[in-house]
Amino acid sequence: MLDHLPILQVIVPLLAAPACLLLNNARLAWLFACLAGLISLVISVALLVQVQQSGVISYMLGSWEAPWGIEYRIDLLSAYVLLIISSLGTIVLLAANTGIRQEIAADKQSLFYVLYLLCMAGLLGIVATGDIFNVFVFLEISSLATYALVAFGRDRRALLAAYQYLIVGTIGATFLLIGIGLLYSMTGTLNIEDMANRLPVDTNSGTVYTAFIFMIVGIGLKLALFPLHLWLPNTYTYAPSIVTAFLAATATKVAIYLLIRVQFSIFGADFGGELIQPIFIVLGLLGVFVASTVAIKQSNIKRLFAYSSVAQIGYMIIGIGIGTSLSLQGTLLHLFNHALMKGALFLALAAVVYRIGSTDRTCFNGLAKHMPWTMAAIVIAGLSLIGVPLTVGFISKWYLVLASIDSGMWPVALLIVLGSLLAVYYVWALVESAYFGKADASATSSAPIKEAPLGLLIPLWLLVIANVYFGIDTRLPLEASASAASFLMGGGQ
């Protein structure tokens, strides 16, 4: 049984999905989905422990030897990302039962869990597999599920957002497919490990460069790399809040993982370095500043945090662009930390939507009186987003700044901290209206607003506590990211 963990990681949610369809009862489906989520969480923990103890796990699907058969390959990086996806996916799932009650019609709720589990299976599959074509297939599985999930949104604009995301996502995936085809024609293999071994011979070939660019742009579309991010704000704004929390916490993280995998594992850390690294740094910084500035002006808070996600992705890209072991560790830390803070923020917004039905800025006026726990969660997660000490946000910012100073990029270090100043603006404007704003008369005349139900509050506070806990006891993410980063840098050369 233990030997089969890599495949079980993907199979459990994949098979649980159609089972939910058969249950055809929202509450049962939810319980069952939670169970599947918990099992995959346990598996990912076991995998991480196993990898830390005995190194890379290689699993041959159907016992066909790699590189002919499909290999599932769990190294430190994938084990770390698997843990992020399964834990965040499960926590958000815990909140789903209450969270979707107001946003999705009762007869469609069990379908929601089917899609949710499919999406999660796809994301886990991308990370677990060691076969590049398999990556494409899983990417499409998760993307198709995501498009449908987004279309669940109550607002009819959710349909347009889903359509827009579908077009962009398909183009991105097809670009990736072109890149894979070109690489296959150069190396004759689809196994990532095998491909990496064969590639250095041909690095000067134009075809390999073309493949590289196609893959980077394709992944860039999926991860909303500035300026390819235009689909993200609409998608996050109009999707049901639970879906937004899930996507923000996991989907972009997987895309970042894929970028790291392609850049460092397949092409090697030095490939295209002098060309692509400055581009990453500049795009990352632009993402931070442009998206944060746009975020400040948003009147819809969900859209505000969507833009803030684009900015945070910028930080991760900067870390990849600097390209040292330290900066990569910063990116990996931010992967984990951003999942925690955005998961918490969007769950809090889900709670607000549950009670008020809107995330417009005016709805937040004076809301702290009615929903003290939800607002306190927003404050703490917001502080983490800014990067205040004793929260997780501080740790990743620390590593990114340290890495840029270490590489002699002083201006980058300064710009990174300046970027978090913009976060202060948009977080604090929200906090101020929640605590000091006066609710308008029309809102107060109707029934008093109550605190969100426990079904939402408990998962929300789990994430908030994680935001603080991992900001103080940093050992787990720090060790995992440090060894994953040095593994990648060592493996790439």
């Binding site: 074509f133 494409f136 297939v137 499409e140 198709l144 498009y147 449908a148 279309a151 009819r156 604009r157 349909l159 347009l160 889903a162 359509y163 579908l166 077009i167 398909t170 183009i171 097809t174 497919l177 072109i178 085809g181 296959y184 024609s185 689809l190």
Partner: protein
């Protein structure tokens, strides 16, 4: 030499046509057709990569020693399936958009929401 690579030229031309149709028209269905053409160009690319000149179908026989590579063909079968699923989902979305807005023209949709 350029003539030898005409299949790749066709792929590029199809790809550009597809992308253009995705971007230019305002009709949502037409965009999907463009997306389909774009994807098909990649399918053709894969198929022609697998073809080895003078090679036959990869079935062992005493008269042939050169075979085409079957793997890309198999891969693209998967990709075609994915493409069909995407298209089905996209069309379903367009149907819902039509019933929610009463139109499938992008510019009219934008107007309705503002």
């Amino acid at each position: 030499m350029y003539y030898d690579l005409y299949n790749y030229w066709m792929v590029i031309i199809l790809m550009m046509i597809g992308l253009y149709i995705v971007i230019k028209p305002s009709n949502l269905i037409k965009k999907l057709i463009g997306l389909n053409i774009f994807q098909t160009s990649v399918f053709i690319f894969y198929i022609s990569v697998g073809k080895v000149s003078e090679g036959t179908a990869p079935i062992f026989s005493s008269t042939h020693s050169v075979y085409s590579n079957p793997l890309p063909h198999v891969l693209i079968l998967t990709a075609i399936v994915v493409g069909i699923a995407t298209m089905a989902l996209a069309l379903a979305l367009v149907v819902r958009i039509k019933s929610a807005y009463g139109t499938v023209e992008d510019d009219e949709l934008q107007e309705q929401d503002h």
